[in-house]
């Protein structure tokens, strides 16, 4: 913002002050207007926005102090400089406490006034710039889209909005591919921490020794290969959110350290003595049965309860098939833009076929299927044939050279796994009753898994 863009309003009942000051500021290139009393000033404030106000404290009618309060109610970013005589410096100091930028005493020292205005103009420029950047950041940190029309997705969005405003630890549970990280991103983006980093760690993808260093950081020489001091993810996430994916896979030692770090919000780097403080919020996710891990003694009970403060359960896609059409459209749009392909939609047959699929890999699998179909598609709409590759794979798993009994066992298991061992739902899919399923399980010697 240039000087010519800064607008100044001078409010003083003395004409000589208004004229002299406005002439002085105009010579410096500012846009200046004047008002002889508070009412005129408020009218001018309604017409346009001013960056800097010079307000005389003593004016007939509404005085400068009251006018200052009114201006701040209307425009909190405006900079107000109070004009005062030596006798009313105390009042000017009171104005500073109420948020005025500064005050000047009459008569003004030209050098002092010039510096004051320069500082105010700089402050105003920075404030505007800051607002602009915040706006850009808001754009960048806009919550990710959670697609779906089902009641579950609507409830999920409500839950996210509710929990985002708090600093509570959140546990997100759901099968692989259901979008646990997306939910974590949505919580972070809607929270007050959104301008700070969201740091993700996939605990399952990092070896035990490395995970400790990854989370807590290390000092130079802490272990072989630690050539430099390195900040850990807990430290990087200061002010923001730490997303720990596959939390169920971390080892006992790291569990103890993590519990202490979560409770005290402080820790030390590996090989270091310095206590690092960090204000992070934990969101974690798992697709395993943590309760069973606690029972087996693989996962600390105290850490489990510390992380389990608020749980969000994401249903698998097969239990909310009404979301599939909207997801399909979303992914078609996404890949149409990425691939610059003229695909506009999907045929009814193809969509029906997709709705009937069990999608054990959930939304991720659906997205991959759409991406693959988009690659091979030649028309304006995706057709069943575009998805043939996926179907061929499906057919292969059940049509290999197996005996009828083996096929039956394999298919039964597949359906049970796809419903997370929901017997009623599996019976419905297979077209048999629940008792028959139990009989077949006994016949094939299949036990219900612990985490089902």
């Amino acid at each position: 913002m240039k000087i010519e863009d800064i607008k100044i309003l001078i409010v003083d009942d003395e004409e000589i002050v208004r004229e002299s000051l406005s002439e002085w500021f105009r010579e410096d290139g500012y846009k200046v207007d004047t008002a002889s009393d508070a009412v005129e000033a408020l009218n001018k404030l309604n017409e346009t926005r001013w960056d800097i106000y010079f307000l005389d404290i003593k004016m007939p009618g509404m005085d400068g102090m009251e006018l200052h309060r009114r201006i701040r109610e209307i425009d909190r970013e405006a900079l107000v400089i109070m004009i005062t005589a030596y006798a009313s410096v105390d009042t000017a100091v009171q104005a500073l406490k109420e948020g005025a930028f500064d005050y000047v005493t009459k008569p003004f020292d030209p050098d002092h006034l010039s510096n004051l205005l320069r500082n105010a103009a700089k402050h105003s420029q920075l404030t505007r710039e800051n607002l602009g950047l915040k706006g850009t950041l808001e754009e960048l940190t806009r919550p990710p889209q959670i697609i779906g029309v089902s009641k579950h997705i609507q409830d999920l969005k409500d839950l996210i909005a509710t929990v985002a405003k708090t600093a509570t630890t959140v546990m997100i549970r759901g099968e692989s591919g259901t979008g646990k990280e997306l939910v974590a991103q949505a919580i972070h983006a809607q929270s007050n921490r959104r301008f700070f980093p969201m740091v993700s760690v996939n605990c399952g993808a990092i070896s035990e020794t490395l995970l400790e260093s990854e989370l807590f950081g290390h000092e130079k020489g802490a272990f072989t290969g630690a050539l430099y001091r390195r900040k850990g993810k807990l430290e990087i996430a200061d002010g923001g959110t730490l997303f720990l994916d596959e939390i169920g896979t971390i080892d006992m030692k790291t569990q103890v350290d993590l519990l202490r770090a979560i409770e005290r919000k402080e820790f030390t780097r590996l090989g270091g003595n310095e206590t690092i403080k960090s204000d992070f919020r934990i969101i974690c996710a798992t697709n395993t049965n943590l309760e069973a891990s606690v029972k087996r003694g693989d996962f600390r009970e105290d850490l489990y309860y510390r992380l389990q403060v608020y749980t969000i359960q994401i249903e698998p896609l097969r239990q909310r098939t009404e979301d599939i059409p909207e997801l399909v459209n979303f992914f078609i749009q996404k890949y149409r833009d990425k691939m610059s392909k003229p695909v506009k939609g999907i045929t009814g047959d193809a969509l029906q076929m997709l709705t009937r699929c069990a999608w054990p890999g959930n939304v991720r699998e659906l997205e991959n299927a759409i991406e693959r179909a988009m690659v091979v598609s030649k028309g304006e709409r995706l057709v069943q044939k575009d998805f043939s590759l996926n179907q061929a794979q499906d057919v292969e798993t059940v049509s290999a050279g197996l005996s009828l009994e083996e096929v039956e066992k394999k298919h039964l298991l597949r359906v049970l796994e796809s419903t997370r061992w929901n017997i009623s739902q599996s019976a419905k899919i297979l077209g048999i009753d629940r008792v028959t399923i139990y009989k077949k399980l006994k016949k094939f010697g299949i036990d219900r898994p612990e985490n089902a």
Partner: protein, 172 residues
């Protein structure tokens, strides 16, 4: 070449002006001439401040002078009611400006008299106020004579020349 009158009301002040007249003409592109006028400053004295009101002085004498742009030089301390002092004063696009020697003299700051230093400051201040008379505003280029100067140090830092942009705006 249009005229620029440098008006003095005290014969002694002419000795400060004559050495810098040609340079002022070269820089402004206006023919600078020295003019003596009898001016009574007493009506502009503010006894409580022991200073003279520059705005009133300009208002009264602007109409009495010729149509040429003029800069009045005085040795009294000038002020306008809202400011503690001014080195000089001019209205944008006006006819008459006033410049005070009072705070330009090294003696004011406890230093020995230095006529050359005083003339260098005076030249900058005359050209600066002339700039306002031809509608120039303050310039952001620190070396430009139209840069704002609120202290004698500010005056010393800047040059006595217009930057290319300001120079371009001077009506010929």
């Amino acid at each position: 070449m249009p005229d620029l009158q440098v008006v003095v009301h005290h014969a002694d002040h002419g000795s400060h002006i004559e050495p810098i007249l040609n340079s002022i003409s070269d820089i402004t592109g206006y023919r600078a001439t020295l003019v003596f006028e009898v001016i009574d400053l007493d009506p502009f004295l503010e006894p409580q401040r022991a200073q003279y009101n520059a705005a009133d002085l300009i208002s009264l004498y602007e109409a009495r002078l010729t149509s040429a742009k003029s800069v009045l030089i005085t040795d009294v301390d000038l002020f306008i009611p809202i400011f503690t002092h001014v080195f000089g004063l001019a209205k944008l696009g006006g006819q008459l400006a006033a410049v005070s020697l009072h705070r330009l003299m090294p003696e004011y700051y406890g230093l020995p008299p230095d006529p050359q230093w005083l003339q260098a400051r005076l030249k900058k201040e005359i050209i600066h106020e002339f700039g306002h008379l031809v509608n120039l505003r303050h310039c952001n280029q620190y070396y430009c004579v139209m840069a704002s100067s609120n202290t004698a140090d500010d005056l010393d830092i800047k040059s006595d020349r217009f930057c290319p942009d300001c120079r371009y705006l001077i009506p010929r």
